[in-house]
């Protein structure tokens, strides 16, 4: 499914974290023998995605499904255990710190917690000047200043507030400043990791609108990570639904909301609390959410899926096209669903 227009391409990405501590912790004494066992959190298990230029691809899933790990791996904050990440046709996941620098200017990130994403000891001006200066060392002071003013105005923050420290701002304002910081280096691709989930409802709308305006004005491409499906309907061009480190479904937003295929997507959609009275009761999922430490065999969702059969417990389903949608489900593959 590679197309020339894709800006970011993720190929069969895996990420594991060891949770067994050091070498000694891994040893155990069983039946008179010393054995070494290593346990891993399987945060991402073979994900392939591509983000097309100019779109907003939303990655949706519940806590622990690995969506934030995808974001952090894409931004090279984490190194993948397996797989490759290509940006504009170049492989970037194995680059050195220095070789990555040009990409840092093109790819930026917005974080979840507005209270932690700004350095408390730096004024807003310092926080915005530093990256501009760092990536444009030849710019004069005036040029840097102009750029900082421009982005501050773009996010609706009065430039005269620049002398203040982050703690003097509300959560929504801080999130605007974080967005300004990302925009300051003129990126073309932004990874937004749950940028609105820590904000109040009335502020969420403000920030979401701001992100949409910025996309229109600056021709941005987004990888938008969220747990909130209702936001996705507005924001996303396409949606990728994740469960336990794997991709269940990838579809155009409209298609996903009007005609969800994967049983998990259906359950997720039906669980969103709605204001209207006439909605169907949520699909009840049975069973416990498995931990990413001991992944279930076969389809990771089979333990909670009402339609699971023998094959689902053994064989890992592959992402296959079904109409315009890509879906990983044996049931759909077999035409049962």
């Amino acid at each position: 499914m590679s197309q020339p227009a894709s800006l970011l391409k993720i190929n069969n990405l895996h990420k594991r974290f060891s949770i067994s501590g050091d070498f000694l912790d891994q040893l155990s004494f069983k039946g008179g023998k010393i054995t070494r066992t290593q346990e891993h959190v399987h945060a991402i298990n073979g994900i392939s995605l591509d983000v097309k230029k100019g779109e907003a691809l939303c990655v949706v899933g519940e806590s622990g499904c690995g969506k934030s790990t995808v974001a952090r791996t894409v931004m090279n904050l984490l190194r993948p255990s397996e797989g490759e990440i290509h940006y504009a046709g170049k492989r970037i996941d194995n680059l050195s710190h220095r070789a990555l620098l040009p990409y840092r200017k093109q790819m930026q990130m917005i974080f979840q917690n507005p209270y932690a994403s700004l350095n408390p000891r730096m004024t807003i001006n310092q926080a915005l000047h530093e990256p501009v200066k760092f990536h444009n060392p030849k710019w004069s002071h005036g040029q840097v200043l102009d750029k900082v003013h421009e982005v501050m105005e773009a996010v609706g923050v009065d430039p005269s507030w620049g002398v203040r420290f982050p703690h003097e701002f509300s959560g929504g304002q801080r999130q605007r400043i974080s967005i300004a910081r990302a925009l300051a280096v003129e990126p073309e691709f932004i990874v937004a990791d749950e940028p609105i989930s820590a904000l109040d409802v009335s502020i969420q709308a403000q920030v979401l609108n701001l992100l949409m305006d910025a996309q229109a004005e600056r021709d941005l491409t987004y990888l938008f990570i969220t747990h909130d499906l209702s936001v996705v309907e507005h924001f996303g061009t396409r949606v990728a639904v994740m469960y336990l480190g794997t991709l269940c479904e990838l579809a155009d937003t409209k298609e996903l909301f009007s005609n969800p295929r994967h049983p998990y997507t259906k359950a997720l959609l039906s669980a969103i609390p709605k204001l209207s009275d006439d909605r169907e009761p949520p699909i009840k999922l049975t069973g416990e959410v498995p931990t990413p430490v001991n992944l279930p065999s076969g389809c990771v969702f089979h333990g909670r899926c009402p339609y699971a059969n023998e094959r689902c417990t053994q064989e890992i389903p592959q992402l296959k096209p079904d109409g315009t949608t890509m879906v990983a489900c044996h049931g759909i593959d077999e035409g049962r669903l």
């Binding site: 050091d22 952090r72 931004m75 904050l77 710190h97 990555l100 620098l101 840092r104 200017k105 790819m107 930026q108 990130m109 974080f111 979840q112 917690n113 932690a116 994403s117 700004l118 350095n119 408390p120 000891r121 730096m122 530093e130 990256p131 760092f134 990536h135 009065d158 005269s160 507030w161 002398v163 203040r164 974080s178 910081r181 280096v185």
Partner: protein, 313 residues
């Protein structure tokens, strides 16, 4: 949204507007302690100018004047305000010089601790992995042995190896080195804990995403955010270092009697307490306790104001 002053506040204006300054203005105890500490610092610095006698100059000492009580006592001599010690030195002058020695050792030792602790703590916290576990394991072992134990053993061994005479000449340097090196884990652990807490915060990720280098992130972004715990722990550590020095001197492993710190002065007076010469022990003892107490109270106040518990993570 509300209107804001347009001018950029200066450092001084910002300090005057800070929570820190406001709570200092409100807190009488903090002001008092700061006053006493400043006074002690001034007296120590200008001891040679203020002291009526030079206790290091044997020409000024007359053994006939030994064990004279303070001037307000019946047998006191007006010449010696606080009386004299067993060697006939003026106690007031000796205390001034002793405070100078104690403070010098305390402050220098803490500077050494801070230097080692900050570098090791930052490295362990930010780099993590094997470096971290190795350093922290060493710190654990060293801490469980306690500074006192390490200092006593090291100083005892050196004293035995050098012989008393040479040792006494090097005493001050030895004390600074030993107290400074033996206490590094305290600093390193505190810094490491706050670095670990800071590292988790997203502003560090934001800096990494910007492509900043490790050194820049460690020193420009993380280090300023660990200043509060550093300040708190430094205050308390000076107090601890002064106590440690006094204790070592009391055991005869610290400053020699010819060049007394507050601890060795107390130690030398202890022999005479049974014969009624209480002042040689009690007066320097009170000075020592007062000095340490104000440092500890300042530390408590700083802890309340800067609230570094937040960094516990």
């Amino acid at each position: 949204m509300d209107a804001l002053p347009q001018i950029k506040p200066s450092m001084m204006a910002r300090f005057k507007d800070s929570h820190f300054w406001h709570s200092f203005k409100r807190d009488r105890v903090a002001q008092f302690c700061f006053g006493i500490f400043s006074l002690a610092l001034l007296l120590a610095i200008f001891a040679p100018l203020i002291a009526p006698f030079d206790p290091y100059d044997s020409a000024q000492i007359d053994i006939m004047n030994s064990e004279l009580p303070p001037s307000w006592e019946a047998e006191g001599d007006a010449q010696f305000w606080l009386g004299t010690d067993a060697q006939g030195r003026d106690l007031w002058s000796t205390i001034l010089y002793g405070t100078r020695v104690s403070l010098t050792i305390g402050i220098c030792a803490v500077m050494l601790q801070a230097f080692l602790g900050i570098i090791i703590g930052l490295a362990a916290g930010y780099i993590g992995g094997r470096v971290d576990s190795l350093l922290m394991r060493i710190a654990d072992v060293q801490l469980s042995f306690s500074t006192m134990m390490v200092a006593i053993i090291v100083l005892a061994v050196f004293q035995a190896a050098f012989g008393t005479e040479l040792y006494q000449q090097l005493a001050m340097v030895m004390l600074i080195l030993v107290i400074g090196i033996a206490e590094w884990p305290q600093y390193a652990r505190t810094i490491r804990a706050s670095v670990l807490a800071e590292k988790e915060k997203e502003y560090v990720d934001a800096a990494r995403v910007m492509g900043f280098g490790t050194a820049r992130i460690m020193f420009r972004h993380i280090l300023p955010n660990t200043l509060s715990p550093i300040l708190v722990i430094s205050t308390v550590q000076i107090a601890n270092a002064i106590i440690a020095e006094a204790s070592l001197s009391f055991l005869g492993l610290g400053m020699p009697v010819s060049q007394p710190s507050l601890g060795s002065l107390i130690s030398s007076g202890f022999e005479y307490i049974f014969s009624g010469a209480w002042w040689i022990t009690v007066i320097p003892g009170l000075v020592l306790v007062a000095l340490v107490l104000v440092m500890n109270l300042l530390g408590d106040w700083l802890r309340d104001v800067l609230n570094p518990k937040l960094y516990k993570g």
